[in-house]
Symmetry: C2
Amino acid sequence: MRFELKQATEILSQTPFTLQRMLEGLSEDWTVSSGDVESWGVYDVIGHLIHGEETDWIERAEIILAQGENRTFVPFDRTAQFETAKDKSLEELLTEFAYLRSSNLERLARMELTDDNLKLKGMHPELGEVSLEQLLATWVVHDLNHTAQISKILAKQYDAEVGPWKEYLSVLK
Amino acid sequence: MRFELKQATEILSQTPFTLQRMLEGLSEDWTVSSGDVESWGVYDVIGHLIHGEETDWIERAEIILAQGENRTFVPFDRTAQFETAKDKSLEELLTEFAYLRSSNLERLARMELTDDNLKLKGMHPELGEVSLEQLLATWVVHDLNHTAQISKILAKQYDAEVGPWKEYLSVLK
């Protein structure tokens, strides 16, 4: 598929609700923070998604659109959630993520992006030149990346419980 | 985590609703059948989940519980959905999956399984002896496996659109 703003927004809009449906009502054993920046729990993933809404995607889109002298993005802190999210319940985090995403999608809509806008470029601190279109496609894939990661974290809890079936279950590999 | 029926049922109950929330309203480009048994589209995954509800999990649980002379499961057809699902809409498949899952969870509840029941064994045609507990844990992980697979199939559609970000996105690997 070629990138289209409407189709990208379909995924971005549903992610918070997908995750709420997937996680609310699960026993805390399934979703608890790992407390380990090297091996996240479900709780830590939602904190990471929130931090992205607050500091990454839309902020970077605005840097690109402004086409100012310095178009280099502020580096993203991938483990900020271990500090910022630690006193909240998972339900609170999911609600916060849904609120921030909805607000960011409004900001995106107000940009009224044209095809020419989507070709504008900014500077990623590690990856070099990237376009607005690539940024928005990455926002979508980043959602899906972490939805898959959450499925994997949940599945891993039953790694020893499936017995010989393990070899058929790629999510456990 | 050790297997517990209550916690397992939490995941089994929410999967159909998670997938509805994730997929309903997406453009067909995201979800269309691949028509290729080697490389499934989202549509094909839902068909596969339906076939599992119809022929696999609860049927096998009943074979184990009955402890009859022949405890060997009927082999599961992993690509049956390419024949059975082909004339339905994705929404119809999602509704069918939710209905079958709910009905199977009622059958599971009516079994009133004890810890002793969970240790009973059946014979998998390829894997050999497996317990009822392992079967039920695998049902859960199988849901999560295919939820992760759906995220991956969706993400792959933007494989070329994310540009240099690809190296950060494990779901594209």
